[in-house]
């Protein structure tokens, strides 16, 4: 069994961009897309400064976080370790892109040439329309590797079957080979030299290993406090800092917002029905209304995916993808609602509630599985989304209560439940923001969260809590106050989801757990009076 990977030597790379451009040639990537990217990194503060060049790209992880999230099976891992893309299967949902902690993936939706819309002769001949609207990333030049066997050549040894970046590198900073072969150059380097894996703590076991030391000349050292200070990690010009992901925009947020509240509403309606606080007829109407809201959310997602006509492929990976599972919940939900109208049996109502609960849970897991976005991947995320969904459902039901009853029973229940969930959600949010740093959320995303906190607490927690309490205290205003409280809860829940998905959505960024000791002042390599 093979395990292909790379060694990148920080003491050799000069940041010349030859690998980047050679990759662009070899893989015909469009303007702005760089599967092999080299960052110009500066650390420290004058007069103690270091600069280095960091090769990035798909790490072909042994435990790739992009593979299980793929709802279609377009992204897979081969036995030789290569993480592959099937462009014909991909729907362009970008789950993989937000799941990757190495910012390796891109999606280009429209064909452009380097000279605006007119393609040059070469661009016409090298255009790949199959790659439009779908996820792209470094393939380790898979076509080359796959010809090795037939030609009797060895990847990493023979240039024709070795990735373009490695064989074009003018410093041999990038080496490719088989880590499973103890005699390969990469294995020897990994064995003989000290190296690190980026974001090793995330557990992806990336297959690019970075060398950082030269015996007798350049020792390695860990980062200084200033390099990982909030100031540096907030500097948008710092290439290590992850910027906001743009794969999932307001359209994706709309699914979490509308789908979440709709699922919550269905659950609350089911609960109210179980307590016989609403009639079956009302229950069905509420389910229908919720389904419509959810459908709008789903339609927004449909608008966002790169390959709309392939949307049904989303159902293909229930064994690992929470997005597939979410869609199956939808697939169960809508027929159940339809049937509940023609065949009004309680079992369908239970089915609807179950599907809604599943939908809500899947949403939580989708966001949590997005390993590339620190603010999303926190362990509490599914619980936060579920509880918010329920709080929103309570809120929506409170809004609708007047339609179905003039009595105070239902509103009272809603007040109590709403207040409890508002309190619970307040605690969740407070913890989420408080533990953000510990959870690896960077200062830029933290700032977004902190900025949103007064509104989130105010709208989603304090206002409902206060209004629900007031309503309980003043039964004569109960309907009106619970409606307002519900509205606040819905708006507050929508707001935090919007903020988390489209604002505090900074990518993982890059990290340097070890760097070569070189630079000026304090950072300079140690004095030396002989090389033995």
């Amino acid at each position: 069994m093979k395990r292909y990977g790379m060694i990148v030597d920080l003491n050799r790379c000069v940041g010349c961009q030859t690998c980047t451009i050679a990759c662009k040639h070899s893989n015909d990537t469009p303007p702005g897309v760089q599967w092999r990217r080299v960052l110009d990194v500066e650390q420290g503060q004058y007069p103690d400064v270091e600069r280095l060049f960091l090769v990035t790209g798909c790490q072909h992880c042994a435990e790739p976080s992009c593979v299980p999230v793929c709802p279609t099976g377009a992204t897979r891992q081969r036995e030789d370790g290569l993480v592959t893309m099937n462009y014909d299967l991909c729907i362009g949902c970008a789950s993989c892109a937000v799941a990757c902690p190495y910012q390796a993936r891109t999606i280009v939706h429209e064909q452009h040439g380097y000279y605006a819309d007119t393609l040059t002769k070469q661009e016409e001949k090298t255009a790949h329309t199959d790659r439009l609207g779908v996820a792209n990333k470094c393939t380790f030049c898979i076509e080359r590797i796959d010809t090795a066997h037939t030609q009797g050549l060895t990847p990493g040894v023979d240039p024709d079957v070795t990735p373009a970046c490695a064989v074009s590198c003018i410093t041999q900073a990038i080496r490719f080979g088989d880590f499973a072969d103890p005699n390969s150059t990469v294995s020897q380097l990994a064995r003989d030299e000290r190296s690190f894996q980026m974001h090793a703590e995330l557990g992806n076991d990336p297959q690019i290993k970075y060398l950082y030391e030269v015996p007798q000349a350049t020792p390695g050292r860990g980062p200084d406090a200033i390099d990982v200070s909030d100031e540096r990690l907030s500097d948008p010009a710092n290439p290590l800092v992850g910027q906001r992901q743009t794969f999932w925009d307001y359209r994706a947020a709309m699914n979490f917002i509308l789908g979440g509240m709709a699922a919550g509403l269905m659950l609350c309606a089911w609960w109210a029905a179980q307590l016989q606080l609403i009639e079956v007829q009302a229950h069905r109407q509420i389910n229908l209304a919720a389904a419509a809201v959810m459908a709008i959310g789903l339609f927004f997602v449909f608008l966002k995916i790169g390959r709309k006509l392939r949307f049904l492929f989303v159902l293909l990976r229930p064994q690992s993808s929470w997005m597939t599972r979410e869609t199956w919940c939808v697939a169960a939900l809508y027929p159940a609602i339809a049937i509940s109208f023609v065949w009004p049996q309680a079992v369908w109502m239970h089915c609807i509630a179950l599907a809604a609960a599943g939908f809500l849970y899947c949403q939580g897991r989708i966001l949590q599985a997005s390993k590339g976005i620190p603010a999303w991947r926190v362990a509490r995320m599914p619980m936060m989304l579920i509880c918010t969904g329920i709080a929103e459902g309570i809120g929506l039901l409170a809004l609708l209560t007047a339609q179905y009853t003039t009595q105070n029973t239902l509103p009272m229940y809603l007040c109590i439940a709403g207040a409890l969930f508002a309190l619970l959600n307040a605690v969740f949010w407070w913890q989420y923001v408080r533990q953000a740093r510990a959870n690896g959320i960077g200062p830029l995303a933290r700032a977004d969260l902190i900025k949103a906190t007064p509104i989130v607490h105010g709208l989603a927690h304090l206002a409902p809590l206060g209004l629900y309490a007031l309503a309980l205290a003043k039964p004569e205003t109960m309907h009106a106050l619970t409606a307002i409280a519900g509205l606040c809860a819905v708006a507050g829940g929508a707001w935090w989801k919007f903020v988390v998905i489209t604002r505090a959505c900074h990518q993982q960024g890059f990290a340097l757990p070890m760097v070569p000791q070189r630079g000026s002042g304090q950072r300079a390599a140690p004095a030396r009076y002989a090389l033995n």
């Binding site: 500097d235 070189r518 004095a527 090389l531």
Partner: protein, 900 residues
């Protein structure tokens, strides 16, 4: 896959292959056939990968163009209209024929035709047989600079060749352990071979100390970055030398044998500062401490004295044949004089001058001598040579302009102190451009005066001095060291014609305009000092013939633009291997082919065919063909034992010409055993033979020829200076006096930064207005490639800091209220430029950095960059020109936030 070479930069040629399908070039790859042969494994740099896009750039000019607007200037649309090749060539030929009828020189004696090519000789690797046409034409003014020559590694070119046949100087990184690098951005400018070898050296343990005001790409890859005040590098070097000679036990740390036997250290110096010479033979004297007497340098000497003062008789040879006879006077070895000379340049003094901690200077000096391994040897191809694994590199901004001589001298001296000159591991040269033979630097080391190598100085003796400019930059007149090779015109003060055209100093002969100016693969209106001013001068030329790729700021002023077939569309053979710029150190040498991988775009024509057409239409076909036969285009087609010469009386197409060259080249490579034609080269791409590593080093040749390095004492330089001063004063020229002061036997350090700080007053401005230093640095992605119109290059270049903005120290920017990405305006006493701010820590607070050369206003794509350029801030000025005739890429500036 079609094999070709890339010689866009001076570090080539390097080889690659291009994938062609249905006549369209699609992709490029390295040429892996050269793995283990080419010093960088057959790889090419980022720039080469732009060539495919360059071929299909929709902004390419693909038809000859004629100007219709007689008014020239940035503000005047040239009104170019397409014309046929016949019309275009007739138009140019008619002009040339009219000029020829009047005479090749005008009434003032200047050539009527001038030509400017891009830097480093790289355009000749693309212009096919055009040099043969120029040779057939005859007198030509190639002294209008465009950024090459005077703006290049200028002092290094001149003094490097003078001292050790090193037109460019590098370290033998394969065998080197310790390098002090003063601002050479080698990792961006060293070509693939340089970058590859340095990476290998680093992995082996080479330590590099990078001394420069900003943390360059090269600084990034160095063990230590020492942020030095701009233009004080010579002071740092002097501090190191002081440390070695006066604080350390110099006899313990220096290579005393080398100093005694291989340099002029023991030559006795008389009271007038010239060598004490034997009155009979005129040979410089050395004090033999064993024999207790002075002997001619080439006599049998048991133990040459390096220090002390000795009572000797003899004579000094001053300027213009003056003789001073001395009887029993005190004379000192030049080494003794050197130690006295260096006494005042203490590390403390240097530290204050350079704004660097004194302990850094002392430590670097100590590390240098510790790594030098004086006494060690190494075996190279069966021969035992000294092994001195220490070197010193100088950057372009360090060794051009004022201070360049001192830095060059300090660097070369530092190498000689430990015997690390032209030996494995040490500081060494790569090629010659001023000496002959051009293709073998070792053979150019022949006997000259006083035990040193011959050097083809331009005479400063009254009888032979060129008293009037023969071309507009007057290099023969002003710069003895520029010699008189085909390269000398470009290595003279090539920026001065632009200045003198506007405002010449007095007295100076009236500078006429060339009646035709030819511009090929260069854009002086962008790449010159004070580029906006140069654009105005170009607009004054009555007729400009440009060979154009796209519109640019220079050909905007053209009368005719001829579109050449591009790098992937035309024929040419070039030498590869041996030793060459940066670190082209091969174990092979031979020839490589550039060929039409694809058909020329539109009506673009192979340069060789253009040259043939022009030769035909100017009645110079025979002379042109004979020039090709003599080797003007590549190599002689007729030799002792071979003859592939072209019939001189008929026109040959490009392919036939290069077919003949292919045969001659393969004949040379194989010593006649394996002659190949162009088709063979088309398939295989290159042909090589072994080249011994021993031929990398000059030292064995110096020993076998019985030559000494002309260091540390610069008697000849001093004499030429004295003579030149007399000559210039004789014709009333006083304005070159500051430059004449540079001709010192032991160069003094001047406060070089002051020259630029005070320059503002010359223009009536207050120096305090311009509190910051502005510098530039090499962009590997853009340099030389004429590729600013390629968005692909732009895309990848932007991954390297500084390609989108002016690099400013973060604290300085904060003080000025400037945030990252803010629009800024930079002003110097002579110009302004606009751009954006890029905030970094790796730069001194008193310095800003403008990478590359931009500020385009006509070149498609590039004109929309909004990137500032140092060339818009620097100035053309005699006071900023040193004695070798170069200025420097440095200026005092102010930086302000501009309104968005």
């Amino acid at each position: 896959m079609v094999p070709l070479y890339c010689n866009q930069c001076v570090c080539g040629p390097d080889l690659f292959k291009v994938e062609v399908r249905d006549g369209v070039a699609l992709r490029m790859t390295p040429n892996h056939d050269l793995e283990g042969i080419h010093p960088a494994g057959g790889r090419v740099c980022v720039k080469a990968y732009g060539l495919v896009q360059k071929t299909y750039n929709p902004n390419r000019l693909t038809q000859p163009l004629k100007r219709t607007n007689p008014k020239k200037g940035k503000e005047h649309d040239p009104g170019f209209v397409p014309i046929s090749w016949d019309e275009a060539l007739d138009l140019v030929a008619e002009k040339l024929n009219a000029i020829r009828a009047k005479g090749l020189r005008d009434e003032e004696g200047y050539p009527r035709v001038a030509a400017t090519f891009g830097g480093g000789g790289t355009p000749t690797r693309y212009m096919g047989t055009f040099p043969a046409f120029l040779s057939a034409w005859g007198v030509l003014d190639q002294g209008y600079g465009s950024g090459q020559g005077a703006k290049c590694f200028h002092s290094e070119h001149l003094y490097g060749e003078f001292w050790h046949r090193a037109f460019t100087v590098v370290v033998d990184s394969l065998n080197c352990d310790y390098v002090i690098n003063f601002g050479s951005n080698h990792e961006a400018s060293g070509g693939v071979s340089g970058v590859w070898r340095q990476a290998d050296a680093r992995s082996r343990g080479l330590k590099r100390v990078q001394v420069e005001p900003h943390l360059s790409v090269t600084g990034a890859l160095s063990g230590e970055w020492v942020p030095i005040k701009p233009k004080t590098d010579a002071a740092f070097l002097y501090g190191l030398i002081h440390r070695i000679l006066l604080e350390r036990d110099w006899q313990a740390v220096c290579d005393v044998r080398f100093l005694k036997e291989d340099t002029n250290s023991p030559y006795l110096v008389g009271p007038h500062g010239y060598f004490m010479r034997d009155t009979v033979s005129g040979k410089p004297l050395i004090w033999d401490t064993a024999a207790q007497c002075a002997k001619p340098y080439d006599a049998s000497i048991s133990d040459a004295a390096l220090t002390g003062s000795y009572c000797v008789s003899g004579e000094e040879h001053g300027p213009d044949g003056e003789r001073w006879q001395h009887t029993e006077i005190q004379a000192q070895p030049s080494f003794e004089r050197l130690r006295e000379h260096m006494r005042k340049y203490t590390p403390e003094w240097a530290a204050a001058e350079c704004d660097v901690p004194v302990e850094t200077i002392r430590r670097v000096a100590d590390e240098f001598v510790a790594h030098a391994r004086v006494g060690a040897t190494i075996e190279i191809d069966g021969q035992t040579l000294p092994h001195r694994p220490v070197g010193v590199m100088l950057g372009k901004g360090v060794n051009n302009g004022w201070g360049g001589y001192q830095a060059m001298w300090g660097r070369t001296l530092l190498a000689s102190l430990v015997g690390a000159l032209e030996v494995p591991g040490g500081t060494m040269g790569t090629k010659v451009r001023l000496n002959r033979p051009a293709d073998n630097r070792l053979k150019s080391a022949t006997h000259g005066e006083d035990g040193f190598m011959h050097y083809p100085f331009n005479s400063t003796l009254k009888a032979d001095w060129q008293s009037k400019p023969h071309i507009r930059n007057a290099y023969k007149m002003l710069v003895p060291l520029a010699a008189n090779s085909p390269w000398s015109a470009a290595l003279g003060p090539a920026h001065l014609p632009w200045l003198f055209q506007h405002k010449a100093p007095a007295p100076w002969p009236r500078q006429t305009l060339p009646e035709m100016w030819i511009c090929y693969r260069t854009n002086p209106a962008i790449s010159s000092w004070n580029a906006p001013e140069v654009a105005k001068r170009i607009a004054e030329f009555p007729f400009m013939l440009a060979f154009g790729y796209t519109l640019d700021e220079s050909n905007w002023m053209a009368d005719v633009i001829l579109p050449e077939a591009s790098d992937l569309e035309s024929w040419q053979l070039s030498r590869i291997g041996g030793t060459g710029s940066a670190e082209q150190f091969w174990h092979h040498q031979g020839w490589a082919l550039r060929q039409p991988a694809v058909a020329p775009a539109g009506d673009c024509k192979d340069m060789s065919d253009i040259a043939t057409e022009l030769a035909k239409r100017t009645g110079l076909l025979r002379e042109y063909n004979e020039a090709i036969n003599r080797g003007s285009a590549a190599m002689a087609l007729r030799g002792k034992d071979y003859d592939y010469a072209l019939d001189p009386d008929i026109a040959h197409d490009s392919k036939s010409i290069w077919n003949a060259v292919a045969k001659a080249a393969s004949h040379e490579v194989s010593a006649g055993a394996d002659v190949k034609d162009l088709d063979w080269f088309s398939e295989h791409g290159f042909m090589i033979r072994p080249f011994s590593q021993l031929e990398w080093y000059l030292y064995p040749r110096m020993k076998s020829t019985g030559l000494r390095f002309e260091l540390p004492y610069q008697e000849r330089i001093q004499r030429h200076g004295a003579q030149l001063e007399r000559r210039l004063h004789e014709v009333g020229i006083q304005w070159w006096d500051p430059q004449l002061k540079e001709y010192e036997a032991l160069p003094e350090y001047l406060r070089f930064p002051d020259i630029w700080e005070h320059y503002a007053t010359e223009l009536g401005r207050d120096p305090a207005e311009f509190p910051l230093w502005a510098l530039t640095a090499r962009s590997m992605q853009y340099a030389w490639g004429a590729n600013v119109g390629l968005p692909l290059i732009r895309e990848v270049a932007q991954n390297v800091a500084g390609h989108d903005g002016v690099i400013i120290n973060r604290a300085t920017a904060k003080r000025l209220g400037i945030a990252d990405g803010d629009p800024i305006v930079l002003e110097s006493a002579s110009g302004t430029t606009r751009g954006r701010a890029t905030l970094r820590e790796g730069i001194r607070p008193d310095t800003v950095l403008l990478i590359g050369q931009f500020d385009h206003w006509a070149t498609p794509v590039a004109k929309d960059f909004g990137v500032a350029s140092l060339n818009s801030l620097t100035d053309l000025a005699v006071s900023l020109t040193d004695a070798t005739g170069s200025g420097a890429d440095i200026m005092r500036v102010s930086v302000k936030k501009a309104p968005r």
